[in-house]
Amino acid sequence: MYLSSLRLTNFRNFADERLTIPREGVAIVGDNGQGKTNLLEAIYYLEIFRSFRGAPDDQLVRFGEDVCRVEGLVGGAGEARTIAAAYDRRARRKKVTVDGVEPDRIGDALGRVGVVMFSPADVALVSGSPAGRRRFLDIVLSLTERHYLEDLQRYRQILLQRNAVLRAGESTALVSAWNPGLVRAGSRVVAARLRWVRSRRDSFAARIREIANGSDAALEFDPSLPLDEEESGDDLDRVVATFESELARTADREQRRGATLVGPHRDDLRMRAASGGHGEWVDLRVYGSGGQQRTAAVALRMVEADTLRERLGSEPVILLDDVFAELDVGRSQRILRWVDREAPAQVIITAPKPADIELRGGALPVWSIRGGHVESL
């Protein structure tokens, strides 16, 4: 997939910018605060209709304006498609259209561009809280698994209701009325996560070896339910049975604590690395060095790109936001080699100075950005 044009209206510091984006991509240089990340944020907005940095939609609207809008023309295996997203701050309403038609639900239009975003903030995927890693899983799976988002939303709704009953200290009969729905929706979420991690484990390890010059690392699912990752057989049936028995086991405790204690809302991903020569493995979240954590975060994004490529049947657009600022030269070079190898993927990369980018033999067109205005150099 590739983005052939982009129009930004009152989005962050852009008043009205129309850009024609080269098929191979572009390198965008500019000082901090000129709008490099904002531009990538706008592109990613067309993928998930939210800010990749978790900013509320209100903040995306240019100061003093009411409505922001992003429109992109996306080309790919099929024909070209126009995707647009607008947010009205006063009406608190978001409008998404695909070729001018509003989908029944915004969720139906997710992932139409096919984008992977690499950001310096990604290090929090490794070093931060489990919630950030669940969000990562949820975005990847919502974009690639057909009914994942519906299952997840249903699960969250039931969880809220069930926790409200528990908080109010109601009878077991009232609490357990929510169990079948909780188990049904939640097990589908867990099974999808389990399948994804299992299918991506090897490529994660391979990416780490590639970027970090031979180091060993592993990606593991750390589910709230006691599931054996290795065990095969029908995942969903196994998860359902485990979820039911765990709810029964924790019933007394959750009454006392006033909240549901087991389920996908407590899942986590674990990344570990071989440490020293003694065959010991350490959790990168706790014991990883800054460099190891950043490497693992990049590898996770690469694995996300693999997942999207398989779903789309073509290369996703790769956005790299100043990613080399905190990586050593060797790692940066090896990441750039990966990006080069991903050709014909379109790549949009930002950096403070032109010299920071040696991509595709320096053949990438360079744009400068200043105060929300883009010019080609």
Binding site: E150, R162, A173, L174, R188
Partner: protein, 196 residues
């Protein structure tokens, strides 16, 4: 406040009516004859004063018990439990059901402060227990997250009373498209498949 504003405000309080529609309704009524306006006002007042929930099943009715509850030709051994009054109309319109009804007046939703005490649950249990002719209770709450939980809860209360408790079937809508159905719907349609 002007009379126009007052009327518009009243309309805007109604479900599904926004400010603009309320204004349109107000200006429409300003153009009709006084006789027509009175007919509308009288209809609202008459309905509000004379329609009450049926003492037996909870359906809105002018005579209590309602015409369905007192109809000798209906099957008194089966009671269909629905969330709201309009659901009775939807099932009646099919002409496929000959039993009685029980209107809960909502569904369990702890987040909205709706528990069993806010619903017509006790009256349902009273109808089913003791010397009751009821042999089967059909739970026809909506297939939503809350409707399902309500059905589960009622099942738990009704099962010990020795009555058959059934749940309306779920699955693909007639004339629907498998490709566009959501995952849970397809999964359940497969789970509850039947022999032809």
């Amino acid at each position: 406040m002007s009379l126009i504003e007052r009327l518009t405000d009243e309309f805007a309080r109604l479900p599904g009516i926004g400010r603009k529609t309320a204004l349109r309704l107000t200006y429409h009524l300003l153009k009709v004859t006084s006789q027509e306006a009175h007919r509308l006002a009288d209809a609202i007042v008459a309905a509000s004063e004379n329609v009450r929930p049926c003492e037996t099943c909870g359906t809105f009715t002018e005579v209590s018990p309602c015409r369905i509850c007192t109809n000798e030709r209906r099957d008194r051994s089966i009671v269909c439990v629905v969330e709201e009054g309009p659901d009775v109309g939807a099932i009646e319109a099919t002409g496929e059901y000959r039993g009685l009804y029980h209107v809960l007046g909502g569904r369990l939703s702890p987040l909205d402060g709706v528990g069993p005490a806010e619903l017509n649950v006790n009256s349902l249990l009273d109808r089913v227990s003791g010397e009751s002719p009821v042999r089967e209770v059909v739970l026809a709450t909506n297939p939503s997250v809350e409707g399902e939980a309500t059905a589960m809860y009622l099942h738990r209360l009704l099962a010990p009373l020795g009555v058959r408790v059934t749940r309306i079937a779920r699955g693909l809508p007639v004339g629907g498209d498998l490709e566009y159905a959501d995952g849970v719907t397809i999964a359940e349609a497969l789970q509850y498949r039947r022999d032809l």
